[in-house]
Amino acid sequence: MRRRWHPGWWAAAAVLLAVLPVVPGLESSFSRSILTQMAIAAVFALSYNLLLGQTGLLSFGHAVYFGLGGYAAIHFLRAVNGGLPIPIPFVPLAGAAAGLAFGIVFGALTTRRAGTIFALISLGVGELVYAASLMLPAFFGGEEGVTASRTKAPHWLGLDFSSQIQVYYVIAFWLLVAAFAMHAFMRTPVGRMCNAVRDNPERAEFIGYDPQGVRFIVFAVSAMFAGLAGGLHAINYEIVAAEAVGATRSGVVLLMVYIGGVTHFVGAILGAIVITWLQVSLSDYTSAWLLYLGLFFMAVVLYLPGGLAGLVMLHVPFVRARAMGRVLRAYALGLAPVLAMLLGAITLIEMAYRRSTQPEAGARMKLFWVSMDTSTPWPWLGAALLVAAGYVAWRWISPRVTAAWTIASEEVRVGGARG
């Protein structure tokens, strides 16, 4: 975050967003709706990272502002259907306004504290708003939620926004605007003070800043962008239901931002893409997808605090110093045992799942193009053996991998000094 992204990056991102839905293989309406969902998730994740990554505030109730923004936008869209002459692309702004308003109201309560206490207050507020959403059908529409239509609205530049591609471009536009605005926000005085309050709230107080004031401003701004994301959700799905403020959505955005990488701006976007894809597609391949997601999350917390973006950025110096070849060779070395372990573990998990949740589907089962009979002990033994062998091989090879790694980083350092 130290240097400002020079315009080239933003242009590249804009071109990429424009090209994506017409890339062969991505132009089916399902793929486009996934891309749209990833864009919405990216805006939401970026807004959450303003809190977690930039100001060190762990919130368990960020979906409140997403959902309330969504409800405001859908009610606004209903007004548009009733004749208000506002074109569709401007409807998400109603969500942003609602997000800001509720961010200010709840922010005044929540940002009085930081750390664990802040997390618990946000948890409490999240539970209260979710319970209220089921008890107040007038605004929240009860169980069936609130619906509206994005075609019964004034056309704008000749577009009627009925097709998925048009909605995608509206949402991609807002993603670009929101990302640019949030990135710029971090470059303002109060944005810099967010990092200061994250690193050392006490010292921030001795240079004239009230940490609660800084937390309050970033909370309101983050709630505004979460509301914007809610607004995008509203125009994309044309329905907002109580789950929009639910605890699961708060949990998912936390997974996205942490797995993506809290320390880098692009981390939240990366996390949004990966987790949205996992959520939608992985559940088709295996019913144990939540187990894999949980294990993947714990591995990131343990071994990859920088997240995926951190992992990528870790390798940038290698690429620059052209030492990447050595690093890749080191990885290749360690790949075989790790793969063996993974394969064995996945087989064990899938077999156990088949026996406990689908007994009637019989004992025979096909996994990785290999069919096996789970009632006989052999596949279980085989898989366990695979895991054990993989582990032993990894213990034997890992010193070589780390050695190769240190040589490569040595090269970079020396290269760096020479360059």
Partner: protein, 315 residues
């Protein structure tokens, strides 16, 4: 009059259940500062272990073995997981246990399937303890109350009176100094986490009869456990006990009150027409909102008095 005594008794029973649930977490959170999101999952494991052991061997051995097993699970979690995460700060600890709660729920599905299992109250303790105005109270609820009080005394004494308790307390704020004095702090943390998890397991054995034993049990229990610990006050066992009693009784009495703000305003002479937007909010009866009262209490307490009722510190 009958309703009042019932509400009071039900409130106490529910309060003791809440304390039993959160006693392990009180120990872990106040001694290690770890906000264990997976605490309810270990509680669920306790229920499943007691069901499984109960079917193989019988209820009484299960009452002893299930908590021990959960203690081992807790020790493994601290030793192979949390130990690496401690230096990364409280946020990383919370996130680690957050991921762990997903994993434990799926592992339970992998072992026992998705549907609720019939964790019926075993015959040996399935008889009414006493009758009150025609309502019978089962023995297992009596056993639960006894265990809950037992846990309180054990924790209170161990925490304050024994040397180990004091050493652990010191290790929380000054780990380097305590290890300099010759105590193996990492092993202490494993011990604390194991005891906390064993308490959760014990609570699970009985809780499994009162609640539903199913993979979603931990999620549906949800954050009620944190409410008890935080409202009670960080680092205070008596605080947690008072908080669980308070929540249990207030929530039970709230269910008995069928009045809403609207009725109150009528009494005061202010009428709110059905058309006004506030009518819907004011018409919510206290009984309707009863189960979310703990979260209201949590938010208000954290803002007004983050130390909680008897807490000694804020984080």
């Amino acid at each position: 009059m009958e309703l009042v005594t019932f509400s009071l008794l039900n409130g106490v029973v529910y309060g003791l259940l809440l304390f039993m649930l959160s006693s392990g977490l009180t120990l872990i959170f106040s001694m290690m500062g770890v906000l264990n999101f997976a605490h309810a999952s270990v509680f669920m494991l306790g229920a499943y272990f007691s069901y499984q052991i109960g079917r193989w061997i019988g209820f009484w051995p299960a009452l002893v073995l299930a908590p021990l097993l959960c203690g081992l699970v807790g020790a493994a979690i601290e030793r192979y997981g949390l130990r690496r995460v401690h230096p990364k700060g409280h946020v990383a600890e919370i996130l680690f246990t957050f991921g762990l709660s997903y994993v434990i729920a799926e592992l339970v599905i992998m072992a026992w399937g998705r549907n609720p299992i019939e964790n019926r109250v075993p015959a040996v303790i399935d008889f009414p303890l006493f009758q009150l105005f025609g309502t019978s109270y089962p023995f297992y609820k009596g056993l639960m109350m006894a265990i809950s009080v037992g846990m309180f005394t054990f924790l209170y004494l161990a925490f304050k009176r024994t040397r180990v308790g004091l050493v652990i307390q010191a290790a929380l704020t000054h780990p380097q100094m305590v290890s300099a004095l010759g105590h193996d702090v990492p092993r202490l943390f494993v011990l604390v986490f194991a005891i906390g998890s064993a308490l959760a397991g014990l609570a699970g054995v009985i809780g499994g009869f009162a609640l539903l034993t199913e993979p979603n049990m931990a999620l549906s229990l949800g954050p009620i456990v944190f409410v008890v610990v935080v409202v009670g006050g960080l680092g205070s066992i008596p605080g947690a006990f008072i908080a669980s009693m308070l929540i249990g009784i207030v929530q039970t009495f709230a269910v008995a009150l069928d009045y809403s703000l609207l009725d109150f305003m009528h009494v005061v002479g202010v009428t709110v027409t059905r058309a006004s937007p506030f009518h819907e909010v004011l018409a919510i009866k206290i009984a309707q909102a009863a189960p979310i009262i703990p979260y209201l209490l949590l938010v208000v307490m954290l803002i007004v008095r983050p130390r909680g009722i008897l807490g000694t510190r804020e984080t």
